[in-house]
């Protein structure tokens, strides 16, 4: 991505992400066998759980960064920037989770949506973090806004563990964990297991790549908000001192050089 936010790190992570995406598509759509009960629908397991996991990770980073901002010893504008950045990517991953999950649900359950505890809580998670992002766009001084946002992020994060444990706590249509089952082996084996593990690596790289770019944009936005206007005025004034065509305002028909 040839943008002002590209660095050596984003290029390497981006390259690694492209390679793993290619391998994941090959393993997921060609090599890995269809499931005994779900048939080819099982191939959605190579995207949906990983996307949902990084949705949780994003909101987790947002909460940790918010704690770091609120803690007087570690208070830094960088933590607030990281919290906002991570939450935005989390919202994108949350939308992707709901959309891919809905498509999978239509194929396996016969419905696009049902008011199952897991699905409902994931929709609630999206709603509360959209509210958090809206709050970050409100006016006021940067410090006050950052403090309000950090407290709100912690309140919003409460939904994450409840959403994750929903399949254990309530009787849900949504299946439970496939890989991390307490005291039990994973539900899938062989190429299916390998491909699913690779999906976590792939989406992890995509997540880091997006985070690095988005963080750079956040820093630029902050600079634009705090200094951009002042610096622009100074530059304009400096330009005014250099020899340039004289612009004379003439009443009626605009300017004449």
């Amino acid at each position: 991505m040839s943008t002002p936010t590209a660095t050596r790190a984003t290029r390497w992570v981006g390259l690694a992400a492209i390679v793993t995406i290619a391998v994941l598509l090959y393993l997921g759509l060609v090599v890995s066998p269809p499931d005994v009960t779900q048939g080819n629908l099982v191939r959605l397991i190579y995207i949906h759980p990983a996307v949902a996991t990084y949705c949780y990770v994003s909101f987790g980073i947002c909460a940790l960064a918010s704690i770091a901002y609120l803690w007087p010893r570690t208070r830094s504008r960088r933590w607030d920037q990281l919290a906002g950045t991570s939450a935005e990517i989390g919202v994108v991953f949350c939308v992707a989770t709901l959309v891919t999950g809905s498509i999978w649900g239509r194929g396996s359950w016969g419905v696009w949506w049902t008011w199952d505890a897991r699905l409902t809580l994931t929709a609630l998670l999206l709603a509360v973090f959209l509210g958090y992002l809206a709050l970050r766009r409100t006016g006021g001084d940067l410090e006050g806004r950052a403090r309000r946002s950090a407290i709100t992020a912690l309140a919003c994060f409460i939904v994450v563990p409840i959403d994750h444990e929903a399949t254990q706590w309530w009787s849900t249509l949504h299946q439970g964990d496939t890989l991390l089952r307490v005291g039990q082996s994973p539900l899938i084996h062989g190429w299916q297991l390998v491909t699913m593990l690779l999906s976590f690596v792939t989406f992890g790289l995509i997540f880091v790549w997006l985070l690095l770019h988005r963080l750079a944009i956040e820093v630029m936005e902050d600079r634009y908000e705090t200094e951009g206007t002042v610096v622009a005025i100074v530059e304009r004034r400096a330009e005014g001192t250099a020899p340039a065509p004289t612009r004379v305002l003439v009443p009626g028909d605009g300017s004449v050089e």
Partner: protein, 41 residues
């Protein structure tokens, strides 16, 4: 590969693609708006 699988992979590609496009536009707009030499500090 059935239609649901194609739909799931396709939808994910569209969502991520739209977001990346949005980030690119935002970064370029800010780079133009910020004074030169002051874009990435």
């Amino acid at each position: 590969v059935n239609d649901y699988v194609a739909g799931g992979y396709g939808a994910l590609a569209v969502i991520l693609g739209l977001y990346v496009g949005h980030l690119r536009r935002r970064a370029r707009m800010l780079a133009k708006a910020l004074p030169s030499g002051d874009r990435r500090r």
